[in-house]
Symmetry: C2
Subunit: 342 residues, 2 copies
């Protein structure tokens, strides 16, 4: 591509934003001017890009008319505050926060629902779904025709980095305190996360569901084009820095052909199938730092031939967020570069 | 009770065995002579009991005719080697290893299936089921009539202590190495468990299931008296020292009455229901060291009114193993003390 795009990344100092900026460089995304934005607090900091140090600016002072594409990686509040300004200035946007409704900004996982891009009209607004939905969609989209899934039960053991930099710092600090036999003082979390697992990643609503669980359910149905799928989701928080681990149990319409499932997963784009006997993927040993979703422990049911069980490990900040957003942008410009530039 | 029983504990130097000996003391179990047994390796060690230090002996040299009741807490191999000698000598046995078939030694969780004891004939052989099955049975048995469960999907995040003392030592050692920026050298496990989650606790069989997953499925059906229940089980290993965390999703015959479920759980014996809004139980903060199974995050389905979701936290070595075995023995002697003594 000889043409390039002027781009803004909001949340450039964060876990996802930093990775996103690295990926723009690594993947030789056609970046013209790059504007790195965050809150007033870290304005003035600098982030490396292509051998230079780019200055971080306060998003509140930014004129979106300067760019054509904006990545929102700064939480729901920032998306709510600035998405309208960006689209109003004619920018295409890719939101990672989940703040936008699917009708405004449908979820895209290029391996799962690239057809979403057919017939879109500018300015383009897309969501990069929750990290668990990205991982699930990469694995389940290629199996959909084979399985005709009826029910999907997911336990997502999320890494503390799903709660951003502060989650990472808190696990490190708590672990060090415990190992040094100092009294534990929870700060960012309200209790001990080191050597423990939380039943939820955030506060539940009146029905007991976490927003992220509802989001995951809605996103996976949209991504698979399966509005009738019955999803059970639990998002727990594990004492793991990076990398989500998902235990998945699925009920298919008919008896599952496990050989066909294995064959399909071994060919699936963006998926690394760990098939060697007795081996299995883990977040830290396999998925973290990688561009693929890892899947293993493929097995039928103990009691039900229509059941399929899987284990999925994925880098939440990279494959689950920054990389999916960049891949989505790549697909978007493949379809619509000339329209985005005008 | 004025009468007392001569007892042997095999595996008395282990994670479960040590707790079991403590519980015999704490609960004033009617112990006459107590024989603490282990492998030849730790013969000669001593374990405190009622203010004295009892010498550990080699089980291979033990004459089972000296006792009336034997706890097997030393792994499958020890049960296979010595269970027949014990029952041959007229002992009643409670096995914690899962080595015995349900037809020889059915599983007992006193809160769930006390009726098992009706009409048993001596010598009595019982199994104390896997820690996850104990926890599940305590929570699901009281709900059974209300729910008529059809499907049960369980992800058990097991503590490293489910792999005994060596699991505990390995997590401690690996964590310290990582925090001190030393190169990680896995020994007892084949890879990094610190800040990671394993998709399985042991090697799978040809169908991909772990023995513990099959055991859990079979035990929960026997304990609930629900042979037709369809169980999906994944036993993962988490970087937690003590305390199992179970995410449970259940499909009932009819729409679930959540108010009735809550009411039922708040009265269930052996169960602590965490019902305060937004709160939830965890292994380390709540369950470990306690005699109850903790349950919370009670909620319906996102898409299915027949679904019930729960989170369970339980002390694997105490409530899940040692305490359940002692409670089983208490129930056994309540029914059959005179027959056991003859
Ligand atoms: N972490 C993951 O695994 C993951 C996965 C999928 C999606 N996401 C989404 O990605 C987004 C970023 O998450 P993260 O994990 O990278 O969080 P993080 O490490 O806490 O970083 C947050 C970033 O957003 C900026 N920010 C926060 N509030 C802002 C505001 N009001 N205005 C402007 N900038 C603001 C922060 O800037 P300062 O330096 O100025 O504070 C920082 O750059 C979130 O929407 C999250 O839901 C995260
Ligand atoms: N840990 C749990 O959460 C849990 C839960 C439910 C059931 N269980 C079951 O409880 C049993 C003990 O587990 P654990 O976690 O306590 O293991 P552990 O900490 O490794 O202790 C094992 C104990 O068994 C003894 N032992 C091992 N092999 C033996 C043999 N061949 N003959 C005689 N003694 C032998 C050991 O004695 P030495 O000191 O001589 O090596 C030690 O006392 C196992 O069957 C396990 O499946 C454990």
């Amino acid at each position: 591509m000889s043409q390039s795009l002027d781009i803004a990344v909001i949340g450039a100092t964060g876990t996802v934003g930093e990775t996103l900026v690295q990926l723009l460089e690594e993947r030789e995304f056609p970046v013209g001017n790059l504007y790195l934005l965050a809150s007033g607090e870290s304005a003035g900091a600098s982030v490396p890009f292509k051998g230079r140090n780019l200055r971080v600016r306060d998003v509140a002072d930014f004129d979106f008319a300067q760019v054509k594409l904006v990545f929102f990686a700064a939480g729901e509040a920032a998306t709510r505050s600035f998405a309208a300004s960006a689209t109003g200035a004619g920018c295409s946007i890719i939101d990672l926060s989940g703040a936008l409704d699917a009708s405004e900004a449908p979820s895209l996982v290029p391996e799962a629902n690239p057809q979403l891009l057919e017939g879109l009209v500018p300015p383009y607004s897309l969501s990069s779904p929750s990290a668990s939905a990205v991982a699930l969609a990469c694995v389940l989209a290629p199996l959909k025709g084979l399985l005709k899934p009826q029910r999907l039960s997911v336990l997502a053991n999320l890494a503390v980095s799903s709660r951003g930099r502060e989650g990472v710092n808190e696990l490190a600090r708590q672990t060090a305190e415990l190992l040094n036999a100092r009294p534990l003082e929870p700060r960012f979390f309200d209790r001990q996360i080191a050597f423990n697992i939380f039943a939820q990643v955030a506060a539940p609503d009146a029905q007991g569901h976490i927003a992220l669980e509802r989001r995951l359910g809605a996103e996976i149905k949209q991504l698979l084009g399966e509005p009738g799928l019955r999803v059970a989701a639990t998002c727990a928080l594990a004492p793991v820095f990076f990398g989500d681990s998902l235990a998945v149990s699925l009920v298919a319409e008919q008896a599952v052909d496990l050989a066909a499932v294995r064959e399909c997963l071994s060919r699936a784009p963006g998926v690394e199938f760990v098939e060697e006997e007795g081996d299995y993927p883990t977040a830290v040993g396999d998925a973290v730092g990688q561009d693929s979703v890892y899947v293993g422990r493929v097995r039928g049911g103990l009691d039900d031939p229509c059941e399929l069980n899987l284990w999925i490990a994925s880098d939440n900040a990279r494959k689950g967020a920054a990389l999916n957003a960049v891949q989505s942008a790549e697909l978007l410009i493949k379809h619509y570069l000339s329209k985005i530039l005008t």
